[in-house]
């Protein structure tokens, strides 16, 4: 599940040269999609055009799938230009429920260690490709990740503040390759739950 963040009236981070996060991530998503499909993944995007589904709508698309992994793409307005970071959700207290269903507002909790594995795989590849990028995934309370019941990471690229848009565009193939190869390396370690919404 590939999530180009923001969209519609939500432009995301805005650079001085008229660069909008929502536009760039959509273009990046196209390249990431191609790279993932080349690795044998079936890819679904949370948005194809200039729409802005809610956080819950995006999570719901992933949560309805069986064996999905979730990658949300962001461009920051800070950070060293030409670097990229991977975030996984903060440690959360897993919900307990008599029915065995995962609580919606803590959907990511049972997937925390899987998300960490996926995040570290992608981070390591990004660090090799983009000097100055952290070699391991970092944790942050990313809203989009919290309600996603799947191994989920946020990839944030720096930054919209570059003077020349080409500086960001040049990163797209490397970002796509790192995500696709990281996901491929993660795949054998992911024991897929038998039903959507089940604990891994």
């Amino acid at each position: 599940m590939l999530d180009p963040a923001h969209g519609g009236t939500d432009l995301g981070a805005r650079g001085t040269g008229g660069i909008h996060e929502s536009d760039i991530v959509l273009e990046f998503a196209a390249q990431v999609r191609t790279a993932l499909e080349a690795q044998g993944f079936q890819v679904v995007q949370t948005r194809q055009g200039n729409a802005n589904p809610s956080f819950d709508d995006r999570s719901a698309m992933a949560n309805a799938q069986r064996g999905a992994i979730f990658v949300t793409l962001h461009i920051a307005s800070t950070g060293v230009p030409g670097t990229a970071r991977v975030y996984v959700m903060n440690e959360m207290v897993p919900g307990t429920d008599a029915t065995g269903l995962i609580p919606w507002d803590r959907a990511q909790a049972p997937f925390a260690s899987l998300s960490r594995k996926l995040g570290d795989q992608v981070s390591a590849l990004l660090a090799q490709r983009f000097k100055g990028s952290p070699a391991a995934a970092q944790t942050a309370s990313v809203r989009q990740l919290r309600t996603t019941a799947a191994p989920a990471i946020a990839v944030e690229i720096s930054s919209v503040t570059v003077e020349d848009r080409a500086q960001i565009d040049h990163m797209a193939p490397g970002i796509a390759d790192a995500i696709a190869r990281g996901a491929a390396a993660f795949r054998p370690t992911y024991v897929v739950p038998s039903n959507p919404g089940e604990r891994p």
């Binding site: 970071r85 919606w104 507002d105 995934a137 990313v142």
Partner: protein, 233 residues
């Protein structure tokens, strides 16, 4: 209608269109200015009601630990010791350290929160839950992004953690309202756990990842089943 009357009618119509073309942009500008003034005066009223807590020189001077950016460009924070007269009352003390944090470090490059952000109110519930209400500028003036938003929240939470031991959890409001995210990325719908590792004490320099370990999200709302989310879908 005779041709003469038709000319008069058309003339009046053209005149009305010309007047409207001149007057409408002025009217629109006036409406926009009035809306801005109203918004500003509401914000001003809130600020006046919650005047920044004045540091009382008679309070004992202590070394307060304030967390600003380390300057390393990697999202890390650094603790800075500032000698401040701090009240023993936890609410006043929290307001004093947060207002000092908002005032910013000497080096403006190390700021973690926008310069125009203000603390509008601060409450401490008996169970240790702190509610910090910030002005809209905290959300609207902060550089958008996971790293920058995480740094802002980390610096607020860690500053409270280091200086106000009674605070156990932190809920951030923007202009008196609960918001889903700070500026499109960082989750503010839940409370942050503060002082989880009180015995370990604050670290001198913490990365975003490390800080997050101490800022485990603690869901406060009753859990909602995956099959029936609280809002959409």
């Amino acid at each position: 209608m005779t041709p003469r009357w038709r000319y008069w009618f058309l003339g009046a119509l053209v005149l009305a269109v010309v007047i409207a073309a001149i007057y409408l942009p002025i009217l629109r500008r006036n409406i926009r200015q009035a809306a801005k003034l109203q918004q500003r005066s509401e914000e001003q009223a809130r600020r006046e009601l919650s005047q920044p807590t004045v540091i009382n020189p008679s309070d004992p001077k202590v070394k307060a630990k304030l967390f600003w950016a380390s300057g390393a460009d990697d999202g890390t924070l650094s603790a800075v010791n500032v000698e401040l007269p701090l009240s023993s009352d936890p609410v006043l003390r929290a307001k004093q350290v947060l207002n000092t944090l908002l005032a910013g470090p000497v080096d403006i490059e190390l700021r973690t929160v926008p310069p125009d952000a203000a603390l509008l109110a601060f409450y401490l519930l008996p169970d240790g839950t702190a509610i910090a209400d910030f002005s809209e500028a905290l959300a609207t003036s902060i550089p958008s992004g996971i790293q920058s938003e995480q740094m802002a929240v980390d610096s607020i939470a860690r500053t409270l953690e280091a200086n106000v031991p009674k605070v156990r959890r932190l809920k951030i409001l923007i202009h008196g309202q609960e918001v889903e995210t700070l500026a499109g990325h960082l989750d503010l719908s839940q409370a942050f756990l503060v002082n989880a590792n009180a015995s370990a004490g604050p670290r001198a320099a913490v990365g975003a990842g490390q800080a997050a370990m101490a800022l485990t999200l603690t869901p406060t709302a009753a859990p909602v089943k995956l099959a029936a989310p609280a809002t959409k879908p």
